[in-house]
């Protein structure tokens, strides 16, 4: 009871005046799900815990933060979900796990950290990197794991990571790319597993601090959100500057010789973590627009109104998620762009999954690329 009151205080749930804009905005509800953020907020205010399993429960939330941007009184529903999931996890509730919980197990194995991962097998001979110390740390994220785990989607998200290294090399920087990096713990945190999240956070922060880097460049939207919003308490000294790769590139556009015109149209998918969670909308667009000949065509919903990839935290996947993805891909196709560019590997996983639908394949298939790949291609 007191716990819920404190949560209501922290997330401004107390301010709710029951207008229902959150529910009306929710992409799940629009796709037909029986889901009500408003009810969860009200229940919290009444000192009741929303149910943990079944349809319309806490673990269905995409945590895309669209409702937060629409709430007239600034209730942070997404933060509320985070806190309530923490309580649920404490009571032994596990997510009704898509992929059987395999990814969660992989994260916990990394958290225990007894093993030397083999995560840098993708580095190529022309790439200049430092294993442990340097001025700039490139946080690669877990793209190699996604590629290994989703061979049926022909995932190639590592291409974005490779492009990131090459772009930094072009700027004369040999970034630190560490073999000891571990999963940032984003999904464990959003599943409520704070214990293992903290184990990962401690290790990762120590790793970055020990590198002596004053800049941390992150190509993955989720890792960046986690570093900037959730790792705060784990830093002991001065925090490095933490930037998305596109933010860093947009500061250095004049030093990037983009000579290869792309002469193509692309559309850009704002990852929820980068856009609404961190407010980074302009940098990816600025770097894309700097490519000679490239035309950026926006989808109907873009910027802060973007629809997310509907798979955020490995805790929810159902027919509504699929519907959201299909609708989003239709929007992308309407731009007539052959390529959809994104800045988070997980968007790629989820959209590629939706494209497997044998009946809709032809209508919704579109090439997916990481923004780093597009920029790197314009340099050659």
């Amino acid at each position: 009871m007191a716990e819920l009151a404190a949560i209501a205080q922290d997330t401004r749930a107390w301010a709710c005046y029951d207008c229902g804009k959150c529910t009306a905005t929710c992409p799940l509800v629009r796709a037909g799900a029986r889901y009500s953020p408003r009810r969860h907020v009200l229940a919290t205010n009444q000192g009741k815990r929303p149910a943990n399993s079944g349809e319309g429960t806490l673990f269905d939330c995409l945590t895309c933060k669209l409702c937060d941007t629409r709430c007239p009184v600034g209730v942070e529903y997404t933060e509320l979900v985070l806190k309530l999931r923490e309580l649920a996890h404490r009571d032994g509730v596990e997510v009704e796990c898509p992929h059987g919980g395999a990814l969660q197990s992989a994260m916990r194995i990394m958290a225990k950290g007894e093993m030397a991962q083999d995560r840098l097998g993708w580095l190529e001979a022309d790439m200049l990197t430092e294993p442990d110390e340097g001025e700039l740390f490139l946080w690669t994220g877990c793209t190699m794991y996604y590629d290994a785990f989703f061979p049926e989607f022909e995932m190639d998200s590592i291409a974005g990571t490779k492009a990131a290294v090459r772009l930094l090399n072009k700027l004369g920087i040999a970034p630190v790319v560490s073999p000891d990096e571990r999963c940032c713990g984003h999904d464990l945190l959003w599943n409520g597993d704070v214990k293992h999240f903290e184990m990962l956070a401690r290790h990762n922060v120590k790793l970055v601090e020990a590198s002596g880097a004053d800049t941390l460049v992150v190509p993955c939207a989720e890792c960046l959100r986690t570093f900037k919003r959730d790792y705060g308490p784990f830093f002991s000294g001065k925090k490095p500057r933490m930037l998305h790769l596109t933010e860093f590139l947009s500061e250095n556009l004049d030093k990037l010789p983009m000579t290869n015109g792309a002469s193509q149209r692309v559309t850009y998918q704002d990852p929820c973590r980068l856009g609404r969670h961190l407010g980074v909308y302009d940098a990816p667009r600025a770097v894309l627009n700097a490519v000679p000949g490239l035309e950026l065509a926006e989808m109907r919903h873009h910027g802060s109104a973007s629809t997310c990839c509907a798979g955020g935290t490995w805790s929810n996947c159902d027919r509504y998620s699929k519907q959201i993805q299909v609708n989003r891909l239709r929007e992308a196709r309407q731009t007539m762009a052959p390529v959809m560019v994104t800045a988070c590997p997980k968007c790629q996983v989820h959209f590629k999954c939706a494209m497997q639908d044998p009946n809709l394949k032809d209508e919704i298939t579109i090439e997916l690329r990481d923004v780093a790949e597009i920029i790197a291609a314009s340099l050659e």
């Binding site: 796990c97 992929h99 059987g100 919980g101 395999a102 197990s105 992989a106 916990r108 194995i109 990394m110 225990k112 007894e114 093993m115 030397a116 991962q117 083999d118 995560r119 190699m144 794991y145 290994a148 785990f149 061979p151 049926e152």
Partner: protein, 167 residues
């Protein structure tokens, strides 16, 4: 009614203790072939290494990466996945699916830094009691050579099952 609290602890784990260390292996077996193969070994009183637990599933196609990774997470030293020979699967192509899932699992296992020798896929038919015993012996020895899984130092905590019994 009083409530008695009992702690059930699994066999002592002795990576550091005085008894010799024995590996802890998890075997997944499909109902129609491999599990029956184990039965055949039992009925024929064939001797083989005893350091494994078996989980029966209806078909090897059910064995997802999640099952195997969870076993490693909880400290298994080795995991053996088994099913019917190709062409024999009770559900026609379940074991082909098992291969896809196994490959995926192996990819993850290698990335995570778990030795690939701790994971194995084998086809064992209901008649192959001898083969079952041989594979178990061979795999147990292989895992024994690799030593305790780096994740197993924490397994005592995980294995202790607290049960509340109405007395």
């Amino acid at each position: 009614m009083t409530k008695a609290k009992t702690t059930i602890t699994d066999q002592p784990v002795t990576a550091t203790g005085t008894e010799t260390w024995q590996p802890r292996i998890l075997v997944f077996a499909c109902n129609w072939c491999s599990y029956a193969g184990a039965d055949t070994a039992g009925v024929g009183r064939m001797e083989h290494e005893p350091h494994f637990r078996m989980i029966r599933v209806m078909c090897s196609g059910r064995i997802q990466p999640a099952f195997v990774l969870k076993a490693f997470e909880k400290g298994a030293d080795g995991v053996l996945v088994s099913g019917c020979h190709f062409g024999d699967c009770h559900y026609i192509f379940g074991n082909e699916r098992a291969v896809e899932q196994f490959d995926k699992t192996m990819n993850m296992v290698k990335l995570l830094g778990i030795e690939p020798g701790r994971l194995r896929l084998e086809w064992i038919s209901a008649a192959e009691g001898i083969r079952f015993a041989e594979i178990i012996n061979e795999f147990t020895e292989q895992v024994r050579q690799l030593g305790p899984s780096p994740l197993s130092s924490k397994r005592l905590d995980d294995l202790r099952i607290e049960e509340e019994i109405d007395g």
